[in-house]
Subunit: 491 residues, 2 copies
Amino acid sequence: MAEKITKRETDYSQWYLDIIKAADLAEHSDVKGCMIIKPYGFAIWEKMKDALDKRFKETGHSNAYFPLFIPKSYLSKEASHVEGFAKECAVVTHYRLKVDENGGGIVVDPKAKLEEELIVRPTSETIIWSSYKKWIQSYRDLPILINQWANVVRWEMRTRLFLRTTELLWQEGHTAHATKQEAIEETEKMLDVYAEFAEEFMAMPVVKGIKSENERFAGADETYCIEAMMQDGKALQAGTSHFLGQNFAKAFEVKFTDKAGKLDYVWATSWGVSTRLMGALIMTHSDDLGLVVPPKLAPIHVAVVPIFNNEEQLTQIKDKLSNLLADLRSKGLTVKFDDDDQKRPGWKFAEYEVKGVPVRIAVGLRDLENNQVEVARRDTQEKKSYSLDGLADNIVALLDDIQKNLFEKALKMRNDSIKKVDSYDEFKKRLESEGGFFAAHWDGTKETEEQIKTDTKATIRCIPLDAVEEEGTCMVTGKPSKRRVLIAKAY
Amino acid sequence: MAEKITKRETDYSQWYLDIIKAADLAEHSDVKGCMIIKPYGFAIWEKMKDALDKRFKETGHSNAYFPLFIPKSYLSKEASHVEGFAKECAVVTHYRLKVDENGGGIVVDPKAKLEEELIVRPTSETIIWSSYKKWIQSYRDLPILINQWANVVRWEMRTRLFLRTTELLWQEGHTAHATKQEAIEETEKMLDVYAEFAEEFMAMPVVKGIKSENERFAGADETYCIEAMMQDGKALQAGTSHFLGQNFAKAFEVKFTDKAGKLDYVWATSWGVSTRLMGALIMTHSDDLGLVVPPKLAPIHVAVVPIFNNEEQLTQIKDKLSNLLADLRSKGLTVKFDDDDQKRPGWKFAEYEVKGVPVRIAVGLRDLENNQVEVARRDTQEKKSYSLDGLADNIVALLDDIQKNLFEKALKMRNDSIKKVDSYDEFKKRLESEGGFFAAHWDGTKETEEQIKTDTKATIRCIPLDAVEEEGTCMVTGKPSKRRVLIAKAY
C-alpha cells in the first residue's frame, strides 16, 4: 500500500504497471515472460470466468480438457496455421533429468530424448481436431460444442503483464458443424456473447467487426473480433471468434455423412478470450488514484471501515451494523468489515481506493447516533451520508448506478475517440496527436494496409459489422471504397 | 452406447476401462500418457472442483496462479525434492521451430536453445517458494493461504486413465506460517477438508492417516493422507496434505521477523487432490451395468423419458410435466427431459444407466391418467410408481437417500475389507486371496517396510490417525510395535 502511482499523463505505461503493483494484481515471475497472478487479480479473473462460463453453458456448450502437449507434426498439418504458430513456442525435447556424473548438478539425460518433439500448446485446434476425427462419423454426431479453460504458451520476446505474456490463461471454444451456415452463426453468436460480457460485466464498450485478411487468425476463413479503446488512445483486441471453414477438417481428414448419405468435410469455429481482458479492464476504468473495478467483477463490493478508539466502541459499532452486514450479504454482495486495529482508517480508505472497491462505508459512533453512515463511491469519489434505514437496498442501487456510470463514461470516451478522416495526412497527424479510432476509407488491399502499418504503426482494427455502406475513396491510394474501416494503434 | 462392459469378476481392469468408455468420461490422446477428459467426465470433475473450491475459500484460502515452467536449477534447491521429482519430467530446451532448409519440414531451431532448461511443473513448491521469498518479510505478512488449480506433468511410463497420467489436473495449496504449530494445524485442517469432501460428496469412506517415511512426499517432514478402498481390494490414495517444516523456506532462504523482532525461517504446508479422484469415484460405486455417480456430483440428477408414439402425445406429456420440471429445477436439480424422437425409450434407459444418472423417470399417457410416473433409482435399480402430487419433494428426498445409501454401501465394503492379522504368512495368503486393508503390527523400520513390498507388492498405506495404542509385535520381525498400521496393495 501507499505505493506511488505515476500519473497517466506523465507516463501511461508506468501508470499501468503501478496500478498492477499497487492493487496487488500480478507480478513477473523468475521465468522470463511468465507472470504470477496474485490472489486479488485472480479473484477478478475468476469473476470473469464464472460469468463467461455461465453464458457458454447457456448457449449449449460443454467444457472438456485436451492435452497440454501437441506433437510437432500436428502443427504442420494446417499450412497457414503452422506459419502463424510454430515459430515462437516452447519445445519439449526430453523427458528426464539425471545427476551429472561429472558433478555438474542436475542435467538433461541425453538418453531420454523424445522421438518426436512436443510443443506446449499455443492454441489447441490441431490436437482437438485430431480427436474430433475419431468422434465424428455422421451428422448425428454434430454439432460438437466444446470449450476448454486452459493455459497456453507463446514465446513472446517483449512481454507486458496481462497484455502479452509467454504463458496466459484463456478459454478456447472449438465447435464442429454440419453446415457452413451453422458454423458462421456459431461464430457470430459467440462474438455476441463476448460483446455482451465486455459491455455488461466489464462495463467496456466494444466495436464488433471483422478482421482484414492480414490480421486474420492463422487457419481461419474469417476472424470476427471485439475491439475496445483504452484511455491512451490505443485500441485493444479483447476477443476473437473464428470461422475456420473446412480448413482443419481437411488438414485432419474429418468427414461426416450428411442426412442424404453424402460424405463432406466438417465446418469449424474457434473462439477465445484470455487474461488479456484483465489488462483491458485496468486500462478502461482506472484512474490516477488506482484501480477501478466495475461492481459485477469486484471481488469485494463493499468495504466497511469502523472508526473506533477502543475495543468497546468497536463492539458497539459491530452490534449496530450486524443486521446491515447480514442484509448486504443476503443480497449476494461480498462485504469486508475491516476491524483491523493495527491500521488507521485513513490507511484503509487509501487501500480500498487503490484496489478499486466500488463502495466504501465509514462509520463511527457519532454517525450511528444520527442513524447514518458515510458512503463513498470509487468511480466518482463522491461521499454522501446515507440513513441506516433501507441502506442495503440503497447500496444495491448505488452499485447498479456505478456499473452503469462506468460504462457510460467509457462509452463517451470511446465514442469521442472515433473520428472520420478522409485525408492520409490528417490521419497521420491526428493519429500522433490524438490517438483513438480513425474511421477511414481503405481500398481493401493488403499492400495499402501494410503501407499504413509501415508509415504509422497503426493497423486496421476491424471492419465494423455495423459499418454504413457509403461510396468513398481510399485515403491512401484514392481507389474506390464502399465503407469505412477502423484504424488505430493497438496493444 | 450399448458398449459392452466386461464384468468386474471377469477382468476388473478391463471393467474400469469399459466404464470410462461407455459413460464417455475420457480417452487416451495421441500424446503418450496424456488423456482427453470428455464433456461428461469433465462435468463431474467440475462438480468436484466447485465443492472443494468452496471449502477452500470458507477456510480462508485464495486462489492464485503461478507459472507452468520451473527453471531447472530450482528443482535442485530442496535436496529430497529433486530426488523425488526431477527424474521423470518434461524438459523444455528450445523456444522456436523453423522450416528445415533441407526440406525436412518443421524442425527445432538450434539457435533457439534456452540458456537454462525449463521443467514443466510436476508440482509447484519451488516456483511458489521463490515468490514467497519476495512476499514475506514480517509476521504481518503471514499466514499466506494460497491455492492454485493447475495442470502438472509427471512423465509416467505406465499410465491408466485418471489414475496415472502424464498430464493431470489438480489443485495444490501452498501455505506459509509463522509457527510450526500453526502449519501443523493447517495440514490437519486440509486433511479434514479432503476427508469431508470424499465422504460427503463422493460418498467414499476414507481412512485418515500418516504416511511412513518411505511413502512421504519428497520435501515433507510429515505426509498426511486419506486412503480409500476400491472394489477389487486395492487401496487408493485419494489426497495428501504435507507438513513441509522449514525445508522449502531454508532452500529458498525465506525468513521473517517475528513479533519479538527475531528472524526465523517460515513454516510451510502443501496439499493436493487431482483428477485421480475420478478414478476413485468410478471404482467405489460403479457396477457391471455402468457408472454410478452420487447425486452431489452428478451432472444430471434426473433424466425424464417420455413414452410417446407421436408428436401429439409428446406435447400432452410435456404440458402435464412442465410444472414438475420447473419445480425440480427450482430446487437446484439438473433435469434432462429427453424428447429425442430418433431414439427409443429402452435405448435411453440404458444410456442413463450406463452414465450413472441417479434418478430416471419414465412417463407415458396412461401413467399421467393415473396421476403417476415410474421412478427408477440407479443405485439399487429399484423401480417404483410415484404420485405426481408432491413428486419434486419426493425426488429430492430420494436423491438424499441415494447419496446416503451409496456411502453406507461403500462404508460396509470398506469396513469388511479391514482385517487384523498377526502372522506374516496369514497376511501374505489373505492379501492374495482376499485383498483389502490389513491392520498389522510393524516395527517402524524402513527395512521391514521394504521387505513387505518386495515380498508382496503391498505397501504401508498409512498409520491411521485413530489407531489405538496397543502393545504388539511386528508380524515380520517380531520386534515390538505400539500400534497397527494399514497395509494393502494400492493404485
